[in-house]
Every structure is written in C-alpha cells, then in structure tokens.
Subunit: 551 residues, 2 copies
C-alpha cells in the first residue's frame, strides 16, 4: 500500500527520523538551495513490506521519481537495538577510554557528512580508537550486540560511503587517532603507516627521504590512507603508477567479527591463496576496517616537465595519447583533457594564443639520467610537425607548470560557484572516448542548449569527469530534475560503450541503486556471497555498495 | 588405527589407486630414480578417520615422514559418484560433441601431469569444450551430479594445481580448443583472447601490431592465458610491468554452479563493488574456470639494452638495484641475480674476465625518443666510478645479449642434469635478501658442505629461486631426505623474514600443507569463507590451495 503522507523537506532535521535523499549521482552543494524550494517535493510511504525489509519511501521531486529510504536498516533491528545501544556504548567506552567516545553535542558536524556536502547523517556515537587492538575489541562488541559500524577516514568521499545514516543508530568508527607512520624501508621501497595517516603527511614523509608515494588527489590534505584503501582511490597519476590497488603491498584489517587479519607483508610477490588484500581494497568498509598498510614507494622524480597543448578534436587527443605512450617510454605521468568551455568557465587566461576546442595537459616525470625536458620538447616538436597538435607551451618553471594546473583546478571551483551541478566520474575504453564525448554533448544540448558541459579528465585511464551546469534560469527543483535527466542520458551512453558509471569515486550509498541496476544477477550474487561470507550479521557499513542484509 | 600395509612404489601404476607423493617443495624429475630405490619406502594406512574425511596414508621414505593422500576426496563421495560418472559423461558428450570427450586410451599422458613431472594423476575423462556456453553447461552438469572439475591449461604449472588426482574420479576440463584471439584495440592498448590461447601466440599477435603483452615466462610456448590468470603468473618482466594481476583488464569465468560471469570489460578504472576479477586472478581454478580475458598491452620497446655486471657482494647488488631504480627512471625491465656457482654449473663462459661472487643481468627497455643505450652506458660508468660494480659488459647486439641470458637458462638445465634437486620460489622484502642468502647458504652448508647452492632470481621483486643440488654420493632416498631438510631450513629462514614460500608458482597441491601451516586461523577462515561462498559443493579443483571440503 502506497499512501501520500505529506511534504518532504530536504533537511534531515525536519524529516521523519532517518529520511535521506537517495540519488545516484554527485550533486554539488548549494547554499542558495532554499527551504521553500526543497519543500516543493512530496513523498509517499510504502508500508506494504515486511518489518524485516527496509522501510522505503518514494519521493517525487517535481516529477523526478527518486527513491528515498527512511532507513536502510530493518525496522525490527532498529527496535531491538534501541535498548542495546547504551549497553554497547558503555562497553566501548571501557575499551577506548572516556575521550575515545563522542556523543551528542560533542559530535561535530564533520563526522556526519562527506566532502560533497550532499550526504548528511547522524552517528549514534563517534568512536576513536588508538590501536588495532582497540578497533578489534570495539568491532567485537558491535558484532555481539548487532550494532552497525561505519568506518570513517578523512570525510573526503563523494558517494556517502562513510557517512552514518540519519537514523542515528550507527556507530562511526573514526580512524583519525591512528595516525602513526612506521618504518620506511629504503631498500625495499616501502613504508608502513596506520590507517588514519593523512595522505599529504605520508607523501611528505616519503619525500623527505627521497621517495614519492604517488597517490595524488585534490583532497590529499584531508584524505586518510585507510579510506584511500577502502575506496581504491585513483587521482592524477594513475596513468604512471596505478590506483591505490597497485600501490599497497600489505594491509591489516579488523574483520566484522572483530578478529584481526594481519596481511601487513612488504612483498612484491606472494602467490599464496586468494588475494585477500585485493578483496579489502575497494570494499568500501563493508567487509572489514583497514587499520594499517604497507605502501609501495617509488624514487622521487627529480625532473617534472609540463606542457599545455591545443588540439583540433577529441580524435586528435586520442591519437596524441597513443603517440605519447610510444615516444615517451612510460615516463608519461599525466595526460589530462580540458576543453575551451572549461577554460572559459575557469576565468583563467589560456597559456596559448590559439583558441581550440580541446587541450591537453601533459606531464613527464623522470629521475636520474633521463633528460625529461629534452624528451618532452622533442615530442612536442614532432607532434606539431605531424599536425597532431596545433599549438603548445612547455612550462619554463615549476610556477609556470603550476599555472597550467590551476586552470584545471579553477574549472572545479567555477562549477561550485554556479551552484548545483552534475559531476560524473565515468570510464570507458580509451578508444570510445571520442564517441562518448560526441554523443553525450549532443544529448545534453538536446535537453537544453543553455546547459554548460564541462568535460575534463584522465584520458590515459579512459576516465572522464563529464559534468553539467544546468541552465541558470531554472528554479532549484527544475535544476535537479534537469540534472537527473542529464545523468540518466550520460549513464545510458556509458552503458552502450561498456563503460563504468564510477571510475574512481566508488559506489557508497549514492550510486548503489544505479550500480546494482547495471550488473547481472550473477554479478550481484557474487558480491552478496562475499559480503555474506565475511559479514553474515551485516554490521559493517550496511547499505553501502550493496543493499542492507537482514541481520 | 595406523596399520603397516606394505611397500610403497613411487609409480602411480603400481600403487593403490590414488596414492601420490605429497611434499611441499618442487622436486625435479629424475630418470635414474630406480624402481628399487623407490621400493625402499614403506607406507601406512590410517583408518581411524570417518568416511567423510579424506583417506590418509603416512609414507616413510627412509625416515623422512611425508604425508601421502590416497585421495583428497572423501571416501563416501567416491562411492556415490562411481555410479553417476557414466551418466555425467554421457550428458557432457551431448554438450561438447563426440570429439570433445577423451577417455581411456584416448587420454594422452600430458593431461595427467604438469611440467615438473613430479605430479601425475589420472582423469576420469578429459573434456574439451569449444565455447564458453559449453563450459557453462559442462560445469552445470558436474555441479548437479557432484563431479569434481579440474580446469587445465598448458600443463606448465609446478605445484600440481591442474593435475587430476590419481583416483580417476575427476573431470579434466581442458580449455585448449578455446584458443581464439579476439579484437586488438590499438587505441585502448588492449586485446581480447580466449583462455586456451598460448602465451607465445598472444605475444606474437601483439608484436605484429607494434605492442607487447609483457608476461614473459620460460614456458610461454605452452602456457595458456587461462592458466596464467588462474595462477597469477609472474616471470622476467614483473619489475617493469607487474604480474598477471596487473596485466588483465577483464575476465570472463564460469562459476562452480555453471553460470557465466561476464567481467570482460576493457576499462583501466572501474571502482564499482568488490574486485571480482582480482579474486579470480590467482584463485587456481578453485572458484571458477577462466574462459576469456581482456589483456592490457604496452607499446613494444624499440630498444632493449642488456648488461652483465660483476659485484663484490649481495649487499652491493641491493645498493645497485636502488641506484638503478633512481637513475634509470622506471625503464628497468629486468634485474636478475646470478652467482659464481651458477656460472660454473652452467658450463658457459662468463662475459667478464673478473671472477666475482655475484653478478647481475640488467635490462633497460624503451620505445621512442629515449636513448636506452646511452642511458645504460652512463649508468654503468657511474656505478663503476662509485665502486658499486667491479666490472661490466654492455651487450653489443641482440645476439650478445642473448648469450648473457643463456647463462641463466643453462643454470636451470644444469640443475636438471644433476638429477633430483630442490627448487624453491621464495620472496622477501628486497632489504632482506642479503640476510636471507647469507643465512640460507650457511644453513645448507651446515647440512652438507658438498651440496651445491644455486641462487638466482628477480631482485627487484624480492623473488629468489634458491635451489639446492644434493651431494651426489647420497642414494635417492638419502637425497630426498636431504632436500626435504633443506626445504624446511630455507622456509624457516623465509618465515623469519616475513617472506613467502611461493612468490610466483602458487600453492596447488604440492605447497598446500606448507602454506596452510604458515597462515593464521583468521586467514584460513577467510580463504574458506570465499571458497564456501563460491563453491559450496566443493567441485572446483578440490584439494588445491585449500583442503577439500566435504561435498
């Protein structure tokens, strides 16, 4: 039975406990999103389902049908645990000490949201252990009493994976106090760190010893290693060094029953048994809490050369990439697409006199005896001769190179200033990028000629952030409706090219439904089999990536 | 109850059905291993266990206690399936056609053994499907009737992972007829192949289009892609390109219930859900049959430069490696340790006048604009100035380079000519290699001053083949006993350095007990949880990697 209940307010404080918005894309925050326009949405309850099935609500936003979950947690579970919560937290306080548990007013807003600002929840309590042993004991208590655990790092996720539900029934397990850096083994090119170490700190520590830990993210000043492992973070240098999956030699994790798995080896080769480390990597906290890792280090590049080049078409970009792979001998460390629309919205001056539909930021990194500058210069000269590029600038200094990169960063900032917009994080075979951009631009412009399309991204990884700023004349509800339609259109084109709707951001809660709708029943069964095998009680980050299991 | 039953003959034809030798190392075959000496071993049956527990026998080889399993399959299962086997095979013949099933005399010896020759079994039948759909249907029949399936590639394994048991109750599922090469996408640097494609064929196909598929193994003329995926193969170029795990973009597999999982994407980034591809990689056929893959290609190097250098100590080798990483900008493609003992046993002349305890084969690969020869030459000159190396030769031609590599290959051949010997495949942090070699040499020499120690391997991967040729005056039983003791000593040193007893060869049946004895109960539980979740009936490659589950 579906019954109309009333007005849905897009603020959890004014909603029935646990109501949250459930979309599948990343919609950026907007301060001007008024309460009045939020109130224009109506919602319905669905009471036709059993108490053990999540209570669902259907929310209409000006005709855009979006599923809203009151809570992903079974009703029965919520009733049962209400009386156990205090007992559980009291037991946890004995483990982590008085300062290790934050409750009520002590819990700052940051524990309840992620970087996107779209995803907001309320923790039952925030628990901050200082050792792996404490994590183990805390999880064991939660497992015994059936309390859900949401592992949390630096709050820089974009898909609500580490945000507690709004029901106020989930324990946030923050690893932030576990931030010790262990041994850096110079001869093994490796270092051991605790999960709560901030990525920037890890990078600086490695740099001081002449190494690079090459994971490079916009959010590296806040992002923690445990979260980067749980979400298999990507970033700017994947082309050269791979994603987090390829940068981790060993992992220590606490399993959903509280036991510690010590996979903290420092080996480049260990062909014994299923690769449990790879299973933990990218599992989004659903089968264990990462507590420490052995990271792979590389010699710090002593030469980084950067160029900004203009090209006549996306097809030329793909040709230039193929040529760069061949001519630059795997020394390419970034190959980023930008468009003329992107430069315009950034408000920055192009380093080139030529106005062109597309541009590429090329970075070559080397250490030691290779002359990276001569290499890149020679490459650019040949590309110009061959007509692959129409113009180009080679950065004369680090500051000059930085000004190239600032154009890219300003595009992101400029999007934010335009208010609510659609950010996607799609991937496809590199050979399909040209078709994708062509089709997607036409499709978005067909929805509205006034929409601004901003495509930028990691060509070498086949990973684009194909974003849309809606027509500014639309009201908020109109913008949201428009952006949802854009997302559907973009995802359909990605589907047709055998791509992925989440190249690096993960699934979390925000993309869960879009993800599950796209994979085969066999694939769903395999994921569920793993989740069920590791977390039969379903306490670890329930409802993220997969639908919540009944516990 | 343990009862003496009689003489154990080390030939499956003369043994009680299903008897096989169960050690944990790789003992090379020896033609001169006489029936008389084999007959010196006695064995005992253990009837004290329930019918659902594998029937075990304990075998004594001149005092060396080795577990021998009559079969890893529960007795009850063997009785039950006897009457179902014909029905099952008849159903399978309807799926794959008359020529698709080999039985009795049609089954050549090669389907019953692997490259080491140590591991010999008898298939109930060899099934050779031609399509993924046929694999799916065959596995579905086996799942329904409870017949064990042993997926098989190019018979180049070394741990008995793809050899049927001697009980004659397992179906060998050979992928050899599924050897079609699909699309090579030049702009995506990828190609699609069926599991039965031979590695060499794949490499040649890529090379013809200007690419390299960089998995390089001694056995590449026989090894098949499906097996390389199932065992996460390594080889000579892991330092530059990674193991198979890093060379596969997508996998298609048939699950133990017969359903097809299509994970055949061609994406470099896809952060959605547990990485099922990584779980299949290295799973040794225990949770599915790989039927096809999308492989990652690289630009073919247009310059390969090779040097042979002499060093004063293993410590200097590790220092030289660190320096090479920094100075050669990730263009290093091989860094192989050899010893003076190795050169002597190879019978080949050293390219250097200097006699030194250790040598390194260095290979630098580049394409395009980098001058690899100048780079390597400059590096060697500096290394000589700094005293890192004492002598060196830069190959003047491909033939000259090939003569360097032949020394390494001849060591392997020379070992084989000396008869039964111990081959290990251990790994450790690179920083621990010096300690390992020092300790292991002392320990082996303490066991016998006449044993020949042959250490060679992939320094950059921390992966050594630390092999022992036993004193030649020992009889066969004495040699086996000696080699078992050597293996125990070596593995104990590896354990102390947090290393792995199988860096690239896998676990299979041969290393299963040594592997399981070394990992924590938590680790065992995690492996079993995965196996149980994917293969609850335990039909896929039972007894490999993990103990057989009762079906």
């Amino acid at each position: 039975m579906i019954g109309m209940l009333g007005i849905c307010i897009f603020s959890y404080a004014l909603c029935p406990a646990g109501t949250r918005w459930q979309g599948s894309g990343c919609l950026a925050p907007e301060d001007s999103f008024s309460v009045a326009s939020r109130a224009a949405a109506s919602f319905e309850h669905d009471h036709s389902i059993s108490p053990l099935v999540p209570a669902r609500e259907i929310c209409h936003i000006s005709g855009c049908r979006t599923t809203v979950l009151l809570s992903d947690r079974p009703r029965e579970f919520m009733q049962v645990t209400a009386e156990l919560q205090e007992k559980c937290i009291a037991e946890i306080a004995l483990i982590v000490g008085a300062g290790g548990v934050l409750r009520g007013a002590e819990v700052g807003a940051r524990y309840g949201q992620d970087w996107s600002g779209d995803n907001i929840g309320t923790p039952l309590a925030v628990v901050r252990p200082r050792t792996t042993e404490q994590v183990s004991q805390v999880v064991a208590v939660c497992a015994r009493l059936g309390l859900a655990v949401v592992p949390q790092g630096g709050h820089t996720g974009l898909v609500g994976g580490a945000v507690p539900s709004q029901a106020g029934t989930e324990i946030v397990l923050s690893l932030e106090l576990m931030n010790q850096i262990g041994e850096l083994d110079e001869r093994n090119f490796s270092m051991v760190v605790q999960a709560g170490c901030v990525l920037e700190t890890v990078r600086e520590h490695a740099a001081q010893r002449g190494f690079v830990f090459p994971l490079a993210l916009g959010s590296q000043g806040s992002c923690q290693i445990g979260g980067a492992i749980a979400t298999n973070a990507g970033g700017l240098n994947v082309l050269r060094y791979g994603m987090m999956r390829e940068l981790v030699l060993g992992v220590e994790a606490v399993l959903p029953d509280g036991r510690v798995w010590n996979g903290l080896k420092a080996l480049r080769k260990d062909n014994t048994g299923y690769d449990l480390k790879q299973l933990i990597l990218g599992s989004e906290g659903t089968i264990g809490v990462v507590t420490a890792a052995t990271l792979k280090l590389f010699p710090a590049p002593t030469q980084i050369e950067t160029a900004f080049v203009a090209l006549s078409s996306v097809a030329a970009v793909i040709d230039l990439f193929g040529s760069a792979r061949r001519e630059l001998s795997d020394l390419l460390s970034a190959f980023e697409l930008l468009t003329q629309d992107g430069i315009e919205i950034s408000g920055r001056a192009s380093p080139l006199a030529t106005v062109s539909p597309v541009y590429v930021l090329i970075e070559v990194s080397a250490s030691g005896l290779v002359d990276a500058r001569a290499l890149l210069q020679q490459f650019l000269e040949r590309a110009l001769e061959l007509g692959l590029i129409t113009d180009g600038a080679l950065a004369a200094s680090a500051a000059h190179a930085s000004s190239f990169w600032q154009i890219r960063e300003e595009i992101i900032e400029a999007q934010l200033r335009r208010g609510r917009h659609l950010r996607t994080d799609v991937s496809m075979p590199i050979s399909a990028i040209e078709v994708f951009i062509g089709k997607a631009e036409v499709a978005i412009k067909a929805l509205s000629a006034e929409a601004i399309v901003l495509a930028y991204g990691h060509i070498g990884d086949g990973n684009l952030h194909f974003n849309v700023v809606p027509p500014q004349h639309l009201d908020q509800a109109g913008k949201m409706d428009f952006l949802h339609r854009c997302e559907e259109v973009i995802f359909a084109i990605v589907d047709g090219l055998n791509g992925s709707i989440s190249a690096e951001h993960g699934v979390g809660r925000i993309k869960r439904e879009a993800f599950l709708a796209r994979i085969s029943p066999v694939h769903v069964d395999m994921l569920k089999a793993i989740k069920g095998a590791f977390d039969p009680k379903g306490i670890m980050n329930p409802g993220r990536m997969l639908e919540e299991t009944v516990r």
